[in-house]
């Protein structure tokens, strides 16, 4: 943190000849300008999807879960698949903002704000699925432990589904607080240069009266660091608990101890892919290529190839255990229902393998990691693959249960099930479009903090430093305290 020196060998985090004022200008300009036609089109599509989703949910609430094609064998289908998928996507935001902060990865500054926003919106989308899967959604508050009129009959604290309630709501709250506390100084920046009355008023309210006082910064730094410290185990716990929904049951294919690390790695994998999808668009549309650089994309692709390979190892380990355990049911699930291409859902398993394990290996090549089009394409592929992973886990374990008379291979979603999923895309992108227009999409203060160390135009100053004798270097640039 106190190192004021950064090697020439490191790629700059900010390109171009920037001053502090220029950084503000670049990042705040999209907020002050009228949105482009592209923005309106995108926003319109998102709202349309949201409306369709709202109608699908209306059908489901009015007529019941029967509007979906779930049956007595496949009780969890698209909805829980989508729930796990969205929660997983959220994880990259926290990983970038919290874990990389603790690891002192300077490059997080360019991407953390948008990634955290993505986390919050993704968790909002995820939450819809278990809530509406309850069927009688007006009784959703029954999951809260409160002295109710039924005894009081309490919720079951030993149940992973209740752990989920606590995990997801805590995760949402903490992510929101972390994100918003980081936004305060940037809202103040927007407020102080606003030239319309309304903007000054609204950003004035949103900035909570932030002034930039040194004491406030000191507390803010402490707050960010501790929130990062809290979020790091939190993000691991959340997907661990989501995996417990499966792992604590006795369904073949779910009852495995590998689930927590495997789910967490998968979550980070899909989340980074979603960050890539969003940021590749944002950096282009808002002209922020100096801040979200190819270097950032390269680094995120490294995380994708790493986590994708971890997920791949997990798949292979599962297959191995399916054989090694010599449990008939495990063996049947893994080697027939999943890995056998011509079984009813074999295609989904191999789709998952192709998207998640094989295709990300392309990122071992530096040239591919730094290619925007390849990255964009791969980011979509990875998220398709990760959706398949959850579908495979849920459906292939359920469709042939212990009683052959209740086997069901004909599960395909109804239009309202698909509509609900599409609706969460609508919700996600509606929120994201509004965020991109009205919020600073890059953490302005944090960029300024790294500017003079990692900015392209400031790096040549370090040339002289690199030739200094060691004693002098340590004296001048070592840890200050």
């Amino acid at each position: 943190m106190h190192l004021k020196y950064e090697s020439q060998l490191r790629e700059p985090l900010v390109y171009g000849n920037k001053t502090y004022a220029q950084v503000t200008e670049d990042i705040v300009r999209p907020i002050e300008a009228k949105p482009s036609r592209l923005w309106y089109i995108g926003f319109f599509i998102a709202v349309t999807l949201l409306m369709f989703g709202a109608y699908s949910v209306y059908r489901e609430v009015t007529y019941g879960i029967g509007e979906w094609n779930l049956n007595k064998t496949i009780g969890w289908g698209w909805d829980i698949t989508n729930f796990v998928w969205w929660v997983g996507i959220g994880h990259a935001g926290t990983l970038i903002s919290a874990v990389l902060l603790l690891f002192r990865q300077g490059w997080r500054t360019g991407v953390n704000r948008a990634a955290e926003a993505m986390t919050i919106f993704a968790v909002m989308c995820a939450g819809q699925f278990p809530i509406f899967h309850m069927g009688r959604v007006w009784m959703a508050f029954f999951v809260m432990p409160y002295p109710n009129s039924r005894g009081p009959l309490w919720v079951n604290f030993n149940s992973p589904l209740l752990w989920d309630v606590f995990a997801i709501s805590t995760y949402f709250t903490v992510s929101l607080l972390f994100w918003y506390s980081g936004l305060l100084p940037d809202f103040a920046t927007v407020r102080d240069r606003a030239f319309t009355k309304l903007r000054k008023k609204l950003y004035g309210i949103a900035a909570f009266g932030w002034t930039g006082s040194t004491k406030h910064w000191q507390r803010h730094e402490s707050l960010s660091l501790v929130l990062a410290g809290l979020s790091t185990p939190l993000v691991l716990s959340v997907h661990t608990i989501v995996s417990f929904d499966f792992a604590t049951s006795v369904i073949p294919g779910w009852h495995t101890t590998i689930f927590p690390p495997y789910f967490v790695a998968g979550a980070i994998f899909s989340g980074f892919a979603m960050v890539q999808t969003l940021l590749l668009i944002v950096r282009k549309v808002f002209g922020l290529t100096d801040y979200i650089t190819i270097g950032h994309i390269d680094l995120m692709n490294k995380v994708i190839v790493l986590t994708g390979s971890i997920v791949g190892i997990a798949y292979l380990t599962e297959l191995f255990m399916g054989w090694y355990s010599q449990n008939k049911y495990e063996g049947y699930t893994f080697w027939y229902s999943r890995a056998y291409l011509f079984s009813p859902y074999g295609w989904s398993y191999w789709g998952m393998m192709a998207c998640n394990v094989l295709s990300p290996q392309i990122f071992w090549s530096k040239k591919m990691r730094r290619n925007v089009f390849v990255t964009f394409f791969m980011s979509i592929i990875v998220n398709i693959g990760m959706w398949f992973e959850r579908f495979v886990i849920i459906v292939t374990s359920l469709y042939r249960d212990y009683l052959p008379s209740s086997w069901s291979v004909y599960y395909s979603p109804s239009i309202w099930e698909i509509g609900f999923y599409a609706g969460t895309f609508g919700l996600f992108f509606t929120c994201f479009f509004l965020f991109a227009k009205y919020f600073p999409v890059i953490a302005i203060a944090e960029i300024k903090y790294v500017l003079k160390r990692s900015g392209e135009s400031y790096k040549p100053e370090f040339d002289a430093i690199e030739t200094q004798p060691l004693d002098k270097f340590v004296h001048d640039h070592g840890h200050a305290h």
């Binding site: 004022a21 930039g212 040194t214 910064w217 305290h481």
Partner: protein
């Protein structure tokens, strides 16, 4: 709240700011605050501020969450309504760890943010005097409160000599008030006639 008189010096580079802070403090002035667009590391020490105890508060909130979770769940499941779940023990500590952990994190995070806002006296709609609008953009704004002994002109000269790109004298509200930022120019920036 009281109206006070301040001497304000603006710097455009943190490399100039640090020696200036030292000079001003050596000259015997008490720096009220330095407003910066981003966290400048070491500035709090240069100003002689003590470390914040916010993280200690966070720890206390955290263990409050832990105790709340353990005591509530164990009371509910062993005393209030001992539910028989497959004949398993009523006091099932390992199964409660996820919720205990989540509540620890939740209490610590919410408590710390609340404390942060309280300590900094920040809330939606709260307004404070801005000594310079570019303090959240690209200027480092040093503010020194005048006492009856302070010669404001001398101080301005000292600031300018130490690299301040802009200096002025302002009479301003010390604390916060509720309000909007519409009429900044009337309420704020009351220039004192010299």
């Amino acid at each position: 709240m009281a109206q006070k008189k301040f001497v304000v010096g603006c710097f455009d580079d943190e490399k100039v700011l640090f020696p200036a802070v030292k000079q001003v403090r050596t000259a015997g002035y008490k720096i009220q605050d330095v407003y910066t667009p981003f966290p400048v590391h070491g500035l709090d020490h240069a100003l002689g501020m003590r470390e914040t105890s916010l993280h200690t508060a966070g720890f206390i909130y955290g263990i409050t969450g832990t105790t709340t979770a353990i005591s509530c769940i164990s009371w509910i499941f062993t005393k209030d309504w001992p539910l028989n779940i497959g004949g398993k023990p009523h006091f099932a500590l390992p199964a409660w760890i996820p919720i205990i952990f989540e509540l620890t994190v939740l209490f610590a995070a919410v408590g710390m943010v609340m404390t942060f806002l309280w300590l900094c006296q920040m809330a939606p709609g709260v307004k404070k005097h801005h000594f310079h609008k570019r303090a959240t953009n690209d200027l480092f704004v040093m503010v020194i409160e005048c006492t009856e002994k302070t010669n404001a002109e001398d101080l301005k000269a000292l600031l300018a000599a130490n690299g301040a790109v802009e200096t002025d004298i302002q009479v301003a509200e010390d604390g916060w008030w509720f309000g909007t930022y519409d009429n900044d120019n009337e309420v704020l920036y009351k220039q004192v006639a010299h």
